[in-house]
Symmetry: C2
Subunit: 138 residues, 2 copies
């Protein structure tokens, strides 16, 4: 278990130190302790950070990501929730596929109005199954 300091973690993860402190404060990552006043991290926090980045890039809030990732040593709590999240992501993937196809279509098709095009309309239908992202936390 390699111990690294915040600068090393920042370097290896690409996440600024300020953000790492912020994430720690929010409980998204943990430092193992301090060496003097300096935080020490387990080197594998980088993996957790890429998961966080992934979640962010998928449009999840930090709170939602915290839910998904748990406390790190997560026991068997919330398996159902994990599965629910997985399904939610699955739906996003589907709709994202429609967006991508729509974009490709838009690049290829030279019809003046995509609204007229049946392909595009089909895509729209899929896209329209929207997930109203609840504001309140579960």
């Amino acid at each position: 278990m390699a111990l690294i300091d915040i600068a090393q973690l920042a370097r290896s993860s690409g996440v600024p130190a300020s953000t790492l402190r912020f994430y720690e404060e929010k409980g998204l990552i943990e430092s193992l302790g301090r060496r003097g006043l300096r935080r020490t991290f387990d080197a594998d926090v980088v993996e957790r950070l890429s998961l966080i980045a992934l979640g962010r890039s998928a449009g999840y809030s930090l709170d939602e990501i915290a839910d998904m990732l748990g406390d790190g040593g997560a026991p068997d709590i919330d398996r159902a929730m994990l599965l629910t999240k997985a399904e939610e992501i699955d739906r996003t993937i589907h709709r994202l596929g429609a967006l991508r196809d729509g974009l490709r279509h838009a690049a290829a098709c030279r019809a003046p109005s995509h609204a007229q095009c049946p392909t595009f309309r089909r895509l729209m239908t899929i896209a329209a199954e929207r997930t109203r992202k609840a504001k309140g936390k579960g």
Copy 2:
């Protein structure tokens, strides 16, 4: 071409009127004109709105979405950009798949630490190909 007012558009799209005004100001949607002081929209703006919602739920900024969707009557400008966006989305989809699988795995696997698990580690590797989302606009 059905003409509707902002309240109807809000109702049929689920997007609050304040947001519709905001989107119009940002150039994401267009109103056809005014009836008195009231905006008139083409009913098919709802489709554009679902595309916007989709993009948002996928983590895109309004500016990026504006790029993708174009001016509505988008001519053949930026086909390459559209394709680039499509590929970007494709990568997101891949990584999202990894997240979903990771979540499912986490729900199923009762190993105390996922870091030890080979399946999970493979997933991590995929997840780690992160897209540093450029801050500046291209």
